[in-house]
């Protein structure tokens, strides 16, 4: 299918000969984004104390905003007056907003879901808010992100009741139609449908098959990364990328751990988001290939190395682990410094993957990466199986 809309063009540049990994340019109204891409989450129109200039220096090309929070504060009126979130926060590159639907899970006590939409009680002023697909798109049209998400009926990933899951999956498809109908700015913003169905392959297949018939420029895989077993997680991702149109970007929601990124890129995912890198930074944890360093630990007291000597971020160029050890959880500067490093870490990992895909060395890179984490070759089954399913055998040299 040819993309007729101007709001997104997706050009695949190279594909891995073994796995489903690919490198592409996703041309959006505000920026040309290189995929696979990690999108840091700036919930309320800001990224954890970092200036937008710093985010540009970190080579962030697209970041997330959160519709539910932004709709409350600063509110639609202010965003309208400013001319959208880009201008409000001083960010000239691409933005993506979620639909506000995820808050159904995180704020479930406050929400009542009906066919019409989701009824929230505002945690800010206790007023009742009805979030319908139309309302979600109206707010997102006003925020003005390059990519907006459909409102979906979200059920906790580990939820077991088949009827409820089926209802949510089918409702998500009905809400997609309503979202697309309500969309006022199709030439500037792209609605991504969200594949639902939790861990049920049959529902997920149906959801994905339905979504690919719509006139949209990309897809999201939702309802995962919510506490399910990894062995249950990857087949759902794989099912999604198998069915979803190869000529359009595929976005896996809420995934951002290094090993998950690696596996899911191999499975053909192009976009990721996760609060983890910046959240963990606030607790004094710095990301490294092998996992994370908790800089609060006494072992770093006199450690004059940077967090990661291979890292090119301004934190690693200028600060030692010993210094960060002294100020984590005491000074806000520590959050900023570790956030910078953690975002740089994610960006570097994605860049390295893109380079390896382009050079045809992606399977080799994957093997090297997993062997570094598990030098004893005692790989968890899901890593082994998922990679094997796309032709990368990490057990053979």
């Amino acid at each position: 299918m040819v993309n007729t809309s101007k709001a997104l063009t997706f050009t695949v540049q190279s594909e891995c000969k073994h796995s489903r990994a690919r490198v592409a340019i996703m041309k959006l109204p505000h920026y040309d984004v290189q995929t696979p891409v990690f999108m840091p989450v700036g919930t309320q129109g800001t990224m954890k104390g970092l200036l937008t200039d710093q985010l540009e220096n970190l080579n962030c090309e697209i970041i997330l905003g959160n519709t539910y929070h932004l709709g409350n504060r600063p509110g639609v009126d202010v965003l309208k007056k400013v001319g959208g979130l880009h201008k409000f926060m001083g960010w000239n590159r691409a933005l993506l907003t979620d639909s506000g639907g995820f808050q159904m899970v995180s704020l479930l006590k406050l929400a009542e879901i009906t066919e019409e939409g989701v009824k929230f009680r505002s945690p800010y002023d206790d007023s009742e808010i009805m979030l319908t697909p139309e309302k979600s798109i109206e707010i997102q049209n006003c925020i003005g992100a390059d990519i907006v998400m459909q409102l979906d009926d979200v059920v906790q990933t580990t939820f077991q009741d088949y009827d409820r899951i089926k209802e949510a999956t089918e409702r998500t498809s009905r809400w997609l139609d309503r979202c697309l109908k309500a969309h006022k700015r199709p030439s500037e913003q792209n609605i991504f449908p969200i594949v639902q169905g939790l861990l049920n392959p049959e529902l997920r297949r149906k959801s994905a098959e339905e979504h690919i018939t719509k006139d949209v420029n990309g897809f999201a895989i939702g309802g995962l990364s919510g506490g399910e077993a990894k062995d249950d997680f990857w087949p759902m991702v794989s099912l999604g990328t198998e069915i979803l149109d190869k000529s359009k970007p595929r976005y896996l929601m809420g995934v951002g751990l290094a090993i998950d990124l690696l596996v899911c890129v191999a499975l053909g995912v192009d976009m990721f988001d996760c609060v983890f890198p910046t959240r963990t930074a606030r607790f004094g944890c710095a990301l490294v290939n092998k996992g994370q360093l908790n800089l609060k630990q006494k072992q770093f007291e006199s450690d004059l190395n940077p967090i990661d000597s291979d890292c090119e971020c301004t934190t690693c160029a200028n600060y030692t682990r010993a210094y960060l050890h002294c100020i984590v959880s005491v000074e806000t500067v520590a959050c900023h410094l570790i956030s910078v490093h953690n975002i740089a870490f994610q960006m570097r990992l994605m860049r390295t993957m893109r380079e390896n895909i382009k050079q045809g060395t992606f399977p080799k890179f994957v093997k090297k990466f997993v062997n570094e984490i598990h030098p004893d070759k005692n790989f968890p089954t899901w890593i082994n199986n998922s990679l094997l399913s796309v032709g990368i055998n990490i057990l053979e040299d």
């Binding site: 129109g45 954890k48 104390g49 710093q54 504060r73 600063p74 400013v82 002294c326 959880s329």
Partner: protein, 422 residues
């Protein structure tokens, strides 16, 4: 470090240079100026990367041990001084025991030891121990350890003890200074204490004069005991004090004033020959969600308040920068509405942007002060600023008047981050 006076104005005000820093040979600081206040060795709210976007020149960092003593192990391991350890090499540092504007318990002094109030509680510090830390921290300027936290209306017995203790501690500091090559790479500053009692203050001044050859300047303490109430001191009292101290001591000393004083008092001190300030004023504003916007143009009458309570609902949809024409990063890129939103949502970027603006603007105040000294028009400038300060006597937010910053709106969301009172 050398202090040279380049030009004096009509009053006691002067333009000077701090140069010849042994550890930062090329560095040059033009005075009068304010230091940048640090916590844990970092300029509060600003990483080295962001700081370099705010100031391209060398700045003086104000380093109270109360919030940085926990760096000791690391600085010692690296053995290259506290500025380098905190990622701020190239800037010069001035170390002291406490920030004079911190609220700390009173008393707790021992015969030859002073209490150091850290976030982990009290530590008793002798003059020897203090100089041990200085040998490790290697700041460019060392304020001698002293018992300077007494208010002007303190009882004479307390003041008497403070002066006596400070004199003996200064002696130890000077002895240690004289016998250490490492310490001699720094400049030692004497601390004037006991300002509440003229006789005792004279004693403190006389004592400083006995060490005059080993000192580069003085810092005037003994005015405040920390709590906010003691800051309501009228400018006449301070003027007399500035005169007295200035007359007693050599003119070529660097004169330092610590404390969270408003611009009017600061310029009064400048008028009496004071050169350096500790930078706690803009930090206090930032911590309380307030932005400053003094009008520096003496040809224009000013009819708006120079302080903006950025938390106020009125800025919700205000698309102007904090101060039109301001060259700081925050004003060039962001609106009042955005900063208000960040404060309202308790996002860390609020403090970053307010720090950027307030530090830049406060620095600009000193720039303009120097310009006016150079053109012999300082009195006009001071009058112009004083008028604006008088307008905000009843500046509304209570949290701004409050004795500490515990209920401030800029409290960031990071867990376990306790903001120190300032």
């Amino acid at each position: 470090m050398r202090f040279s006076i380049k030009q004096t104005g009509c009053g006691g005000e002067r333009i000077g240079y701090l140069t010849g820093f042994i550890r930062s040979p090329g560095a040059e600081i033009e005075t009068p100026t304010a230091a940048l206040f640090t916590q844990g060795g970092s300029v509060v709210n600003l990483t080295a990367e962001v700081l370099s976007k705010v100031f391209s020149n060398t700045k003086l960092l104000w380093l109270p041990l109360s919030n940085s003593i926990n760096l000791e192990t690391g600085v010692k391991a690296q053995n290259d001084g506290v500025a380098k350890f905190a990622g701020l090499q190239g800037h010069v540092t001035c170390a002291t025991l406490h920030s004079l504007s911190e609220d700390t318990p009173s008393g707790h002094f021992e015969l030859d030891r002073a209490p150091l109030w850290t976030k982990n509680g009290k530590r008793m510090v002798s003059a020897d121990r203090y100089m041990d830390v200085m040998e490790i921290f290697k700041p460019d300027i060392i304020l001698a350890i002293a018992d300077g936290r007494t208010s002007l209306n303190e009882g004479s017995k307390r003041i008497s003890k403070a002066v006596c203790r400070s004199n003996s501690m200064l002696k130890t500091c000077v002895n240690r200074y004289m016998s250490s090559k490492e310490l001699q790479k720094s400049s030692l500053i004497g601390v004037v204490v006991g300002a509440g009692n003229p006789k005792k203050c004279d004693e403190s001044l006389r004592n400083i004069l006995t060490h005059v050859d080993n000192l580069t300047g003085i810092s005037l303490q003994g005015i405040l005991d920390g709590p906010e109430e003691s800051r309501d001191i009228d400018s006449e009292t301070l003027k007399k004090l500035f005169e007295k101290v200035g007359e007693a001591l050599p003119k070529d000393f660097v004169y330092i004033l610590e404390g969270n004083w408003n611009p009017s008092i600061i310029l009064t001190a400048v008028e009496h020959g004071w050169d350096l300030f500790d930078g706690s004023y803009p930090l206090k504003l930032t911590n309380t969600g307030v932005a400053m916007k003094l009008n520096f143009d003496v040809t224009k009458e000013n009819d708006t308040l120079y302080l903006l309570d950025m938390v106020d609902e009125r800025y919700k949809a205000d698309l102007k920068p904090i101060l039109e024409g301001c060259e700081c990063l925050a004003c060039k890129k962001h609106t009042r509405a955005y900063i208000r939103h960040l404060l309202n949502t308790r996002e860390m970027l609020a403090s970053v942007l307010l720090s950027i603006h307030n530090l830049h603007h406060f620095d600009q105040m000193f720039y303009h002060a120097r310009q006016h000294i150079a053109s012999n028009t300082f009195a006009v400038f001071k009058q112009h600023i004083t008028k604006q300060c008088e307008m905000v006597k009843d500046f509304p937010p209570n949290r701004y008047k409050g004795s500490n910053g515990t209920n401030i709106p800029t409290e960031n969301q990071a867990p376990n981050i306790k903001r120190r009172n300032l």
